[in-house]
Symmetry: D3
Subunit: 253 residues, 6 copies
Amino acid sequence: MNKVRSIWESGGKAVGGWLQMTGVLHAEAMARLGYDALVIDMQHSGTEFDSAVAMMIAIENGGAEPFVRVRWNNPDEIGKLADLGAYGIIAPMIESADDARRLASAVHYPPRGARSFGPRRPLMRYGNDYFGRASDTIVSMAMIETERGLANLDDVLSVEGIDGIFIGPADLAVALGRAPKPDSDDPVVVDAVRMIRERVHAAGKRVGVFCGAGPFARAKLAEGFDFVTLTPDLAMLTASARRVLEEARGGET
Amino acid sequence: MNKVRSIWESGGKAVGGWLQMTGVLHAEAMARLGYDALVIDMQHSGTEFDSAVAMMIAIENGGAEPFVRVRWNNPDEIGKLADLGAYGIIAPMIESADDARRLASAVHYPPRGARSFGPRRPLMRYGNDYFGRASDTIVSMAMIETERGLANLDDVLSVEGIDGIFIGPADLAVALGRAPKPDSDDPVVVDAVRMIRERVHAAGKRVGVFCGAGPFARAKLAEGFDFVTLTPDLAMLTASARRVLEEARGGET
Amino acid sequence: MNKVRSIWESGGKAVGGWLQMTGVLHAEAMARLGYDALVIDMQHSGTEFDSAVAMMIAIENGGAEPFVRVRWNNPDEIGKLADLGAYGIIAPMIESADDARRLASAVHYPPRGARSFGPRRPLMRYGNDYFGRASDTIVSMAMIETERGLANLDDVLSVEGIDGIFIGPADLAVALGRAPKPDSDDPVVVDAVRMIRERVHAAGKRVGVFCGAGPFARAKLAEGFDFVTLTPDLAMLTASARRVLEEARGGET
Amino acid sequence: MNKVRSIWESGGKAVGGWLQMTGVLHAEAMARLGYDALVIDMQHSGTEFDSAVAMMIAIENGGAEPFVRVRWNNPDEIGKLADLGAYGIIAPMIESADDARRLASAVHYPPRGARSFGPRRPLMRYGNDYFGRASDTIVSMAMIETERGLANLDDVLSVEGIDGIFIGPADLAVALGRAPKPDSDDPVVVDAVRMIRERVHAAGKRVGVFCGAGPFARAKLAEGFDFVTLTPDLAMLTASARRVLEEARGGET
Amino acid sequence: MNKVRSIWESGGKAVGGWLQMTGVLHAEAMARLGYDALVIDMQHSGTEFDSAVAMMIAIENGGAEPFVRVRWNNPDEIGKLADLGAYGIIAPMIESADDARRLASAVHYPPRGARSFGPRRPLMRYGNDYFGRASDTIVSMAMIETERGLANLDDVLSVEGIDGIFIGPADLAVALGRAPKPDSDDPVVVDAVRMIRERVHAAGKRVGVFCGAGPFARAKLAEGFDFVTLTPDLAMLTASARRVLEEARGGET
Amino acid sequence: MNKVRSIWESGGKAVGGWLQMTGVLHAEAMARLGYDALVIDMQHSGTEFDSAVAMMIAIENGGAEPFVRVRWNNPDEIGKLADLGAYGIIAPMIESADDARRLASAVHYPPRGARSFGPRRPLMRYGNDYFGRASDTIVSMAMIETERGLANLDDVLSVEGIDGIFIGPADLAVALGRAPKPDSDDPVVVDAVRMIRERVHAAGKRVGVFCGAGPFARAKLAEGFDFVTLTPDLAMLTASARRVLEEARGGET
């Protein structure tokens, strides 16, 4: 079964990484560190299908569950990724029950949804009874990050076949007229994030949030979030590279 | 003129980064942080020519000088990389004056060397008088990292057409029967590194060293090294990813 | 003229292969075996545009007509593939006359359709009068594989500019509440396949079907199908690899 | 600021190149020749995201502004390209005010539009205040090239957030029932092109046109066009290759 | 520990597959069938480092040990592949004790050999004590396939640090003046293969052989071979594709 | 049979193109213009095996013979390219009879040479009797372009198994202490080129030369050269792009 779903069903919370850089080396290395899932960002990075499949294999080989934040809530993109071994789909810019139904439909085979049959890599991992078990192997989360999405949150939550909501705080902040800064402490953003978490939980679903730093993620887990993603790879690398350069030069970069 | 050479000629010391990961995003991002050069490692990573050329362009666009640690001291590999815009060549496993002459020959056009003419990207940057100025645009360093290389250091230093020596401390430690740990404080390794530095300087050449951490690099600059490379990208990323995960989980990874 | 269309116009039936694996070697090798067309599956495999264009050239060089089962019935995807040398478009999940018109519109230039002009590779093959002959060079087939598609079959068939229907039996079986097994002998599926064939022929169009094995394909040709595709490459390879391994081990895998 | 916008704001006209071939070498070489912008054609060529990002870096390194003619007017494609460093978006087949609003919405952050936040490469170039300046860094042009687009030109021009109109004369000719020949002198096409230019200028916006040859482009600049793109790379190369072959063979190809 | 070495040490014989096609899908699929190792052929196929690393991860993820038949007996190529996770090296065209020493030197760290330190992926799998255990994790085999190699077999076998000999029957046949047919029953070839096996075993080393078909491989295992590789992927696929096409057409291809 | 060899054997002279840019579109387009061969330059460009195989297929599909100027005179590189469908090998920097024998050995199977057997793509084109005909299908030329090569020309010409000599005038000029300008009219270079041609013909072999422009190539054909290559793709494209830009701007670039 899906590792993230297993964690949830046994009462735990899952911690994921966020990959904006394309490549197998760091994907496998991060997976081996103990992240429960690694999310390949295909919306705001250069990663496309060719690289994504190699990365998903590397993540699986490293012991984490391969997730993808897809470019858009399109059934063809989602289906193709699921066929190549994505076991988590995070769909951006969900704004209505229709959007949510479209996502659910893309993730599940009939009669629950309309996913087309051709599961190349899942057949390898799950064998011939994959068709009957497919819905259990994949996690789907709808991103709430716009004004309209916020307004229609309850409608979105009423849709069956989606595991929950994933909050994109940068876009959410922008939607609320605030600056898109990481781990924002702007009260307007903080309130919106808390409100979403509470309503998702009230609807009996899972809620996750994109985090910029470890302590912030820890606080979110303590608040009850079911899923957090940690600092994106490129951000971690750039911050380290800046610090190391300062150390080497003695402060004068 | 080559930025690293300019720094040296104006009495400064150059600081480089070390790229084991393939990809343009972090290469450009690191270049923009102020590294003087970024070394693409083609010996101990998956990077090959196709990716290397895109990365060299990204590094140049970010303002750093693109260097390559080549897979081997082969004139065809070195010539092809120089044609694609590598302005620094760090050749591994140099063990003799013959090896050093082979490197020098690969880097310079006749009559100084035997480089074949076809400078695709340098012609774009330096224009039609590139042929006459080529030797000034490129830096070449021979890696001393084996027992035989150590024994023949003076012979290597006697070869014209090479800017200096770059120390690979991991292989050097192994060659001396020590463990290949980063920034080793093993006296045998420390002594060998110091000895190489002194003899290179005595010969009037430049000396560089691969470093694992910022403070170590700073100490090496203080000791007089002309060039240091800082923590490799993959090592920085993995260390950050481990730390962030621990922060998020509260210590329990 | 398109080889498959030529076969049809001279009263024959066409036999195609099905490519789920990305790569030029086997694409060209299979083309040289005498397949009339090879269908690159871009819906349920990892193949994307970069690889597809190299594969289409290899298929053409091997003497078969390059077809693509597109990811989705999108005019931009279809147009780009046609510009790169796809001479057959098989569009999945067609469910209505609107869907069919969208496909027809993507395949034909005005006034028949709305394809945008920029035929990179077809200009090479067909020369400057390609614009006037384009519709003859390309075959388009709509996949009927859902409940809604089945219900609207006659509407779909009434749309001009599409050569016919291609049946996806796995999704069709799922749509009918049956298991998606290859070459299904489930009477419900068998009946639906026969019914579609008859209605397509009654409408004067061509009908094709995806087959899992050679004898099944032969039976379908005997029943009157105009186009069959044979065992997908990955399925053939996996079956052979399993059998060879059993032979080598004497039955104990 | 965007180079093309700067030129416009200082009263000048911009000249771009058109790239149908995938690759960094010629992209950088052409950028260094002095083109103001180079347009990567992702609609009618094989170029996709992986190659496009390397090409955009090469173009920027060569001193031109990287533009993209996108495959379709889709917000996810446009957003991803902008995140990777496209500073000009030319969207094909715009036919209505709705289409135009969709384009404007994809290009601008809220509240002007609905672009999602994740500007990987623009953050490197413009730094942390990119969010506030983003709209100034990017140029967007809607292509008018269909009957419906022509009919709705004034509606399209009434939409805010788009810099202007880019004419695709081949599709426009086809839409008008004419042959899609380059730099058409067909009076129907010539009139339509002039009419569009005049109405765009009357609306206070910028107008560009795709040209097949240098003198034609010069004439268009003289007529008042704000932006011209010159002969596509593949067309230039093929014409030269034909001529050189004839010269070598003495006329007998 | 290396799976093939484990099998050998527990008295078993290993069965491998042979990959001439580039791609992760079939590599992983074949690994999951129960092959002990899969050999990526980098000498007689298009596969290079970029693809090989993704394939090695896929093979490992599928449960087989990733081997490579390298392009040449070059330390830089062998070291780079080992750094990327090749746990078996099959080196072609070994003709002398010098050749064999060169192979052994490339595979082992000092003092046994001269491999340079930078084990990117092995560090992930084996952790920080990899350096001390590296020699146990990798299998190396020298190919005997030329007249000179045959003449110097005993010299080759006397070299320490190589696990054994891998026979390439096609080149061996050619060397002996025979046709390069698969699984040759030519007595001259059969005798040479038997003689090599006997002498390798007499020297206390392992012997493997490239096989074209399952039954032939089984016979070789029965004769005492420690390692067989089965039908290459492309050969299996082409044979199946031909057979299926004949079945579909009723014999008339 | 090889098209270039056929032309030669029927008393003609062959005209080739020279590809420094990586990509299939222009490779196929140029092949269709009527070039007898297209030479993929792997020494002074970014093209490597992955791209080269796709380009060779495209060239073959366009009707020209695919040649490669290899990176170096290495048997593994030459063998791998021949296995992937290179039917002409131009080896740089040949300086002695030993170098020439190494080239001849790489191109021919035993007993003429030492090529290893594994002809992936040639088997597709030539079928199962390829082994016996291989030497007829491939053309090999040694580049004379250094002082030492010039001095040893007669030795090189005495080696069997090579079709002739290909002159690299840029490196040759440099070797003679002259500037590496295209189509040099420097008498020293002109004399050397003529001398080589005469001595190659005196030895009964073929001679080719790299040309920068059509009229120069025509003159060389008139002088008796058996093979000329015309302006490299990147040079043609850059020259056209400069001219077109000047035309558009009215002289002011």
